[in-house]
């Protein structure tokens, strides 16, 4: 049936609306962060000193670079360069894996120090630090989940590009996948200073 409209601008508007919901989903957590930061400034500072700026910084750079590559992958497909487009998407997915591996080791180190939600060690620390680590695990965890989802979406994009379902004329899937990926980057841009550098 003619039920399936190919409405390029509609598809993009729909994706932006979905991004708004993601922004507000994280927004609820940022709200909690803002208020607890105001309540426990020195404890948050202490907690921030414990986190590894290098790992956080590397991950920031990795995400920025991946964001760049997904942006130019769209440029490539629109110029009709399928090969380059595929290469750029592969690099983006590789970046997501680097990010996750980094994150894994970071969390693992925290766990081995006895720092995880509801742990005995956290109960001995001050209340402010408990809240800091609680927010840290929930927010970076939720963000990590989005990295995984974004990588899976880009994986589908690869499949479609290979089969020419994403092509010079019809690239809205890749563009929307890219928008999602940029959002993941966008959230990390705020998470990085708020947790690793505080402030």
């Amino acid at each position: 049936m003619s039920n399936i409209h190919k409405d390029y601008e509609g598809a993009k508007l729909g994706m932006w609306l979905f991004l708004f919901t993601e922004i507000l989903l994280f927004g609820g957590m940022f709200l909690l962060y803002a208020i607890y930061l105001a309540k426990f400034p020195s404890e948050f500072h202490k907690g921030g000193d414990e986190l590894d700026v290098v790992i956080g910084g590397v991950n920031t750079v990795v995400l920025l670079i991946s964001s760049f590559f997904v942006a130019i992958s769209i440029t490539a497909i629109r110029l009709g360069n399928k090969k380059a487009c595929l290469r750029y998407v592969y690099i983006t997915i590789a970046c997501s894996l680097i990010f996750l591996v980094n994150k894994f080791f970071e969390w693992k180190a925290k766990f081995s120090h006895g720092i995880y939600p509801d742990s005995e060690h956290l109960k001995e620390l001050s209340q402010g630090e408990n809240i800091f680590y609680g927010l840290y695990f929930l927010m970076t965890g939720l963000h990590g989940l989005h990295v995984i989802i974004g990588a899976v979406v880009l994986g589908f994009a690869v499949y479609f590009i290979q089969r020419d379902k994403i092509n010079k004329e019809d690239f809205v899937f890749l563009e929307n996948g890219g928008l999602y990926w940029h959002l993941v980057d966008l959230i990390w841009i705020f998470l990085f200073p708020l947790f690793y550098l505080v402030l």
Partner: protein, 97 residues
């Protein structure tokens, strides 16, 4: 507007944006080392905001979209700011009986 009439982000422009983003990231780390008191938060958030503006405007292509889309993106962030800001009406004035 069909897909093909859309503006294409050039490789060059994308690369410039990436470089700017990396510089700003470096600046964020450096500024965190300097003790500015409560201004540290302001500076860090200002830098993060300018980074996110770069991402939204160029990587996410908003610069070249129709005005209404810019409008609703702005509204969304405004609403989030209101949610966070209005909650401070409560928490900043609490317990002062």
């Amino acid at each position: 507007m069909s897909a093909n009439e859309q503006h294409i982000l050039s490789y060059k422009k994308a690369f410039i944006v990436l470089v700017l983003l990396l510089i700003l990231t470096g600046l964020t780390v450096v500024m965190a080392e300097v003790d500015l008191g409560y201004l540290n938060v302001v500076v860090a958030l200002a830098l993060a905001t300018s980074k996110s503006l770069l991402v939204i405007m160029y990587f996410m292509h908003l610069q070249y979209e129709r005005p209404y889309l810019k409008g609703v993106v702005f509204m969304t962030f405004l609403l989030l700011a209101i949610f966070i800001g209005f909650t401070f009406f409560d928490v900043s004035f609490r317990g002062g009986s």
